[in-house]
Symmetry: C2
């Protein structure tokens, strides 16, 4: 089973104070870029993998989704998500994303924000998600960027000339990374971009868009302290589509 | 026009001494990975963008290609390529990859090794290549990896604990990078992986495979000094296919 760090009291308390927890989707700097990758949600059944407090589930319903299923491993987060809505078309279900099952061809969109880098068995998850999507359905997700997850000791270093640099090591050495973020010993899975892309292709998806995210100029104008984030991408955003016909012209 | 660094005498002399120039394809550590991404070449017309000394053109013919067109901006390289073969089915033509034109639907494979990171107008090139491929034809190419091209001052740094790191800055700042490699002032174009992928998608390609290349364990066993190359990928290898039908099931 995946490490359920979100139900660690120290982690949960810290996570609950982040902008993205207090302000919801608009508190997440990468949300406008991720939102731009979403299909039209009107009358679409939506799956949210790692739904947390349910902000996206509520947003999807407000934007026309016919129903939304939010899955999360954290009791604490699901309890708060359930308390925040009485919408009968939103269901929150506790699930370990290493082991869950889903009905076939039930969703038009599978969405996941910053959850898949906790998952060890990505192949199983993609196989499950593909089967749960209708043909032509989309998977849109964000993860921490591999430049961000790779280093043994992640962090900025200012060199002798005052340049901010992000020293990378171990980029091609995939596997677990233990970091201290909000609490000690958070385990994330480092994978290359190529790994994500090729896994999607292997599981019957076509790639629709890949974005290595950093703040744009308008965001930096509003938050000048974010300028350093242009030096290395923090997030990787990917959209892919379930394909059932050969993409090759005959 | 693209900087033609290959006809700079100092650069050409240095380049001519590299393993990949002396030994051909087998002198290029990434060749086995790139070769594995190629389609069956039997009776396929092949285009090589930035053919250099023509090693790949000759290899393609030996592996069944019906004819091969090698394009390069360097007089010196083409002269040597021409002198190395009398095969009438191989043509070497001088061309600036910023400005060339090609017949429509004439090739089954377009190949390019370590040339596209010199090109400023990638969109024009992809548009030209797509038109020159038959429907279902493949584009397989390598470029320097953006982690490799991004830094203002590329190079390894050993930290206080003896770790080899590759300090990254400017990853999201795309554009020219002036470096000293074989001679001074070589200009390469830094682009993110997302940029390459999205440009391909926009120009009517489907992504087939993305590999962030470093030496494998067998290569490191043979050349232990390459172990450091696992810390950051040196090359990006991509294959894509010209699509003419919607990849979405109806």
């Amino acid at each position: 089973m995946t490490q359920n760090i979100y139900d660690n009291p120290e982690f949960f308390a810290g996570y609950s104070r982040l902008d993205r927890s207090v302000e919801g989707l608009d508190g997440a700097a990468e949300w406008p870029a991720l939102r731009a990758m979403l299909p039209d949600l009107r009358d679409v059944a939506v799956l949210d993998l790692g739904c947390g407090f349910g902000w996206f589930c509520v947003w999807a319903r407000a934007n026309g989704a016919s129903r939304v299923l939010g899955l999360d491993v954290s009791d604490n987060m699901l309890a708060r998500a359930r308390s925040a809505t009485e919408d009968k078309a939103i269901s929150y279900v506790m699930a370990d994303l290493e082991e869950f099952d889903l009905p076939a061809a039930a969703f038009g969109l599978a969405y996941s924000s910053l959850a898949l880098h906790y998952i060890e068995n990505l192949d199983r998850l993609l196989d499950t998600v593909r089967g749960a999507l209708v043909p032509g359905g989309d998977l849109v997700f964000s993860v921490e960027h591999p430049i961000y997850t790779a280093p043994t000791k992640p962090g900025w270093v200012t060199d002798s000339e005052g340049r901010h640099t992000w020293p990378v090591d171990g980029y091609l050495v995939e596997g677990p990374r233990r970091t201290d973020w909000l609490t000690k010993g958070v385990v994330k899975r480092h994978r290359t971009i190529g790994h994500y892309v090729n896994a999607l292709l292997r599981h019957g998806f076509a790639i629709s868009h890949v974005e290595e995210w950093g703040p744009d100029q308008a965001q930096i104008a509003a938050r000048p302290e974010w300028a350093v984030e242009r030096h290395r991408p923090m997030f990787l955003l990917v959209s892919a589509r379930r394909v059932d016909t050969s993409p090759v012209a005959s």
